[in-house]
Amino acid sequence: MLLEGVIMSQVRVLVGTRKGAFILTSDGKRDKWEVNGPLFTGWEIYHLKASPADPNRIYASQTSSWFGQVIQRSNDGGKTWEAPGGDINPGQDAFPKSASNKFVYDTSESTGKPMTTHQFYDGKPHPWEFKRVWHLEPSLTDPDTVYAGVEDAAIFKSTDGATSWHELAGLRGHGTGPQWQPGAGGMCLHTIILDPSDPKRMFIAISAAGAFRSDDGGVTWRPINKGLQSQYIPNPTAEIGHCVHHIAMNPKKPGVLFMQKHWDVMRSDDAGEQWREISGNLPTDFGFVIDVHAHEPETIYVVPIKSDGEHFVHEAKLRVYRSRTGGNEWEALTKGLPQTNCYVNVLRDAMAVDELDSCGVYFGTTGGQVYASADAGDSWNPIVRDLPAVLSVEVQTLQ
């Protein structure tokens, strides 16, 4: 019966790359994969993510230095896509409707905040300029509600299936915004976590401002960076300015957060009020991704990267490190991964876990490989080896 259940289950891996999106599917055994794509050929697909409330509803961030931002939406599990509100309108007099790619900072007196400046690379004030959507986070309960983390850092919300967007301006305008500075990849809001135990609680992270929390559904925000130490800012324990690379949370233990910072792997047991370092015996604690086992809230995964100046894996070996103790004690997972001459990176949104009984772990590399483990990381196999550089990986567990 267990085997039958595994085969009946399906796993869908959503992969965003520098030159399009791919959808990888398998049954619950996860040993044979079908690769579909590329979708949106030639465009950078920063992120795709499906609605937990409707697995056929998938959102994608399609972006280009030439043509800007496009939001795509699928209602059939990725078979077909549309730019919401962008239906062809043959009437010459009709007013254009599409606003699905319109991300305008809210400066209205009633709902918004003044458009201040942030710090630029040269330390001078710089106006906020929308560049792209880094991360899409669908609501846990409503398929038509989705959040977008954008560059320059801000969070937007749509309640009409990504047809239109409104900034949650309390984040950009809560007070520290004028001090935020971009990281090397831009000033991006790259992480959005919704708390399943409290619909009004949200966590976000910005490079290089830090982590922030809202307890009122995104209306007001405050920094949650106590305990972080960053030697690359004048005051290493400042309230903001930390280059948080990614945060992960197991939905079954929502108060516990794990963070991969520019350097340092951290955890918080009180929803970000205080952080402590858990790098322990990692060979290097620089990296981008971090994720948590679907069923074991104290089992976490990172991929150590050599340094901030050398964005490839340490010692030319692709190793996922797993801690079963919530940090500090780490073991290298190498079976099936290249252990010589490997110089890839694993970017911040490019790791995910499935929810099958034997938790699957997935990650993509800048070398275009997508690896899967059907045994919680003990062994790995490449699903596909030669995609464009992978920007993001998300997983759906379908029954």
Binding site: R18, T41, G42, W43, S64, S65, W66, F67, G68, Q69, V70, A83, G85, G86, D87, I88, N89, P90, G91, Q92, D93, A94, F95, P96, K97, S98, A99, N101, K102, V104, A389
Partner: protein, 99 residues
């Protein structure tokens, strides 16, 4: 009828192949052509001109009659050959290397 040639990625996004033909009221200018294009194909909003400023996106260029019109006023009349439909108005993705 005004003829507009889009770069491949925008043809894909608009689900068209080949040239786009548009009815554009006079005067025929960059602005009126792009307004008509976006009215007909709303998914192109924001991909050629910024949603708010309506400025041309930096890596795009407007050519016609072997001339680069990118820096002309958006309200300047386009060449007669464009407004008569003899020559197309071209939206060009600037050549740029990198990724």
């Amino acid at each position: 009828m005004i003829r507009v040639v889009l770069p491949q990625h925008l043809r894909t996004l608009a689900k068209v192949s080949g040239e786009v033909n548009l009815e554009v009221a006079t005067p025929v200018t960059q602005r009126t052509v792009l307004d008509a294009l976006e009215a007909r194909y709303p998914m192109l909003l924001g991909t050629i001109r910024d949603h708010v400023t309506r400025q041309r996106r930096p890596f795009l260029r407007f050519f016609a009659c072997e001339e680069d019109l990118s820096h002309e006023s958006p309200d300047a009349p386009l060449p007669e050959a464009v407004s008569s439909g003899k020559e197309p108005f071209l939206v060009i993705g600037a050549i740029a290397g990198g990724m």
